[in-house]
């Protein structure tokens, strides 16, 4: 397996992708989608149009029935599950809408979690800040989490704080690609904007590519590019027509 150095043209490239959870019911059919390195992409569309499903395929958890998904120049569709898991662990940071944190771990332990599963991110975090814990502490304070909260159990935080902890976790060890699946949906409007700008600032300093999913189009202005999934997904159009 080739380790992605600087030598990849696209952060994400999708070709002729076809996917359905059950046979006969196609949810995604995308001819081409390319996301360039360090781009910040805003992906939107109504609920149920397949945004999370597409992210699962980029994350290497789901595999398309047909077509190709490449991440950082590596063809996920040609890999076995363990290979895709490796790519996700080493190069992807993922944030969900809510319940991102492991309830029995402290805030710091949650942030350090990716470094348990990826030696690469462990080493990058250590080279950034000396130790993984120091790296976690830096990210947490940059994202506005008070020092006193670090040792708390994650369930004791507010939803907004939990989302920022999840962002710190996605960012630790500077993964090349950050995937955020409606991370702001449970936040109020002010906090949404704060969260997005904090996240994007961090991604900038880490040179990470960002795919940010939301159905709130008012956030689109923060991003380099906005993609309407319905515009590129032929399956959805087909099912609309039917």
């Amino acid at each position: 397996m080739s380790e992605p150095g600087a030598e990849y043209a696209h952060a994400v490239s999708v070709e002729g992708l076809r996917f359905g959870y059950t046979a006969g019911e196609e949810i995604l059919s995308i001819d081409a989608l390319v996301i360039e390195p360090t781009q910040r992409v805003f992906l939107y569309g109504p609920s149920g149009c397949g945004k999370s499903t597409l992210l699962s395929m980029i994350g290497g958890v789901l595999v398309p029935q047909d077509g190709r998904v490449s991440v950082l120049g590596q063809d996920l569709s040609a890999m076995k599950g363990s290979g895709r898991d490796r790519v996700r662990a080493d190069h992807l940071g993922i944030i969900f809408q809510q319940f991102n944190l492991v309830p029995y771990l402290s805030v710091v332990d949650n942030v350090c979690l990716p470094c348990r599963y990826s030696r690469r991110r462990l080493q990058r975090a250590e080279s950034d800040d000396g130790t993984v814990e120091a790296s976690a502490a830096r990210l947490l304070s940059e994202l506005g989490i008070d020092d006193r909260l670090r040792a708390r159990r994650s369930t004791e935080l507010s939803v907004g704080q939990q989302q920022r902890v999840a962002a710190a976790r996605a960012l630790i060890g500077r993964p090349e690609l950050i995937i955020a699946d409606e991370p702001t949906s449970s936040l109020d409007a002010d906090r949404r904007r704060d969260f997005v700008s904090l996240l994007l600032t961090e991604c900038d300093s880490a040179n990470s590519t960002v795919i940010f999913v939301s159905h709130d189009q008012s956030l689109a202005s923060h991003f380099d590019e906005a993609i309407d999934l319905r515009a590129i997904n032929r399956a959805e159009r087909d099912s609309d027509a039917a």
Binding site: S52, T53, G59, R88, F99, N100, D109
Partner: protein
């Protein structure tokens, strides 16, 4: 590899700690099952060793014709009653055989405050052996010189608070509250035996002449001038030591075919084997029940893990999203099962150690069973066995978590 195992166990431990209420209950049920298994086996083997240690060096036990087991039980363990006596003539006939090294005559039947009274002569103190050939020692006083002297076992002395010079009264029958007491024949304690951990500790020893004295009516019996030369009419049993063990079967055959009187001659080891055969059934039944309890404990563990799976689906998805592979999810659940089983079994085994230390004196005094302290091979087998079964059984929830984590993808269901 080691790093990742430590990671998994530390996660597993934190996860269990988060659910410590249910985890503690599961752990307790495993502890109980491990403790039960350990106790049953310990009592079983310790009882066997204690029984086997009761008699040593005796090649044959001879009594009136009866079952081998019955003869062993009443003569050695003082359990039950002899069916018949054997005549002093027979005793002398046996004594004359050239294969015989020594003999101990034994006369049973009476009791003192619930302790068995045994009539014998000085050969008993010289030749009776227990536990790999140890002979009886006096901790105080001397053996008997007069017909009304008594030498008591350590347990008798301790429980009744007797010392040298204590006058005692011996009654017919075994019960402590017997009506027929022989108040006119008081005996005197002249010796106390050192503790042996055998029924000897719970026996009051008197001379054969003393035994006859109890059973004679007032004034019917005149005390002999010398205990050595005293010859009773009948005795209950004889312990025999041979010059060579090779002769055991020929002497046994001679005695079993003895014509003047129906006799039984048993080899103690053989009779003990019969005893194990009999007790063994009950022992294995108990072990079987204990094993079922272990199974119940492990099924409880399985239930706990399965029930927790649904509420942990999101947790598993989160772990997957940060890079955990399905194998990590699988081994996280295995590690939780292994931790519960290991800690539970360990707690159970240690509780047994504590309990053994506490009940040890009581078991020795009451049942003559010397309980051993310290973990044994069987305990480690229990620990390993429970651990293994728990890990095997938890493959089911671990596999389900693994499947779920694949099916759920990164979409965390709410």
């Amino acid at each position: 590899m080691l790093h990742s195992i430590r990671n998994t166990f530390s996660l597993g431990f934190k996860s269990l700690w988060n659910r410590r209420g249910t985890a503690a209950l599961t752990l307790a049920s495993i502890a109980v099952s491990a403790a039960l298994l350990s106790v049953v086996d310990r009592v079983r083997t310790d009882a066997q060793v204690s029984f086997a240690n009761t008699i040593s060096g005796t090649d044959l036990i001879i009594g009136a014709r009866s079952g081998d087991l019955n003869l062993l039980l009443y003569s050695v363990f003082r359990i039950g009653n002899p069916t018949n006596n054997i005549s002093w003539n027979s005793f002398e006939t046996i004594a004359e055989r050239r294969e015989v090294d020594w003999l101990i005559p034994i006369s049973l039947g009476d009791a003192h405050k619930g302790f068995r009274v045994l009539g014998t002569n000085l050969d008993y103190f010289e030749h009776y052996q227990y536990a790999d050939g140890r002979t009886l020692d006096l901790s105080d006083g001397s053996t008997f010189t007069r017909a009304t002297d008594a030498v008591i076992g350590a347990e008798v002395a301790e429980r009744l608070g007797y010392e040298i010079g204590q006058p005692i009264v011996i009654s017919h029958g075994l019960t402590a509250t017997s009506f027929v007491t022989h108040d006119d024949n008081p005996f005197t304690v002249v010796g106390v035996l050192a503790r042996t951990g055998t029924p000897v500790d719970r026996t009051v020893h008197i001379s054969l002449a003393g035994m006859d004295l109890i059973h004679a009516g007032p004034g019917e019996f005149s005390l002999p001038s010398s205990l050595d030369s005293y010859e009773p009419d009948a005795i209950t049993a004889v312990f025999v030591g041979l010059k060579s063990r090779v002769a055991v079967f020929s002497v046994q055959r001679f005695l079993n075919e003895y014509e003047r009187e129906p006799l039984s001659a048993v080899i103690p080891g053989v009779a003990l084997q019969q005893l194990w055969g009999l007790i063994g059934v009950a022992e294995y039944a108990l072990l079987g029940v204990s094993a079922m309890v272990v199974l119940a404990g492990v099924l409880g563990l399985l239930a706990t893990l399965l029930v927790s799976l649904n509420e942990r689906r999101r947790e598993m998805s989160v772990l997957r999203s940060v890079g955990a592979r399905p194998g990590h999810v699988f081994s996280l659940l295995l590690s939780e099962a292994a931790l519960l089983a290991f800690l539970g079994a360990l707690a159970g085994l240690l509780a047994v150690q504590l309990a053994v230390i506490l009940v040890r004196p009581y078991a020795l005094a009451e049942f003559g069973i010397q309980l051993s302290v310290g973990l044994r091979v069987f305990d480690f087998a229990v620990l390993a066995g429970i651990l293994l079964i728990a890990v095997l059984v938890s493959i089911i929830p671990a596999w389900r978590a693994y499947r779920n984590s694949l099916a759920d993808g990164l979409t965390v269901k709410i």
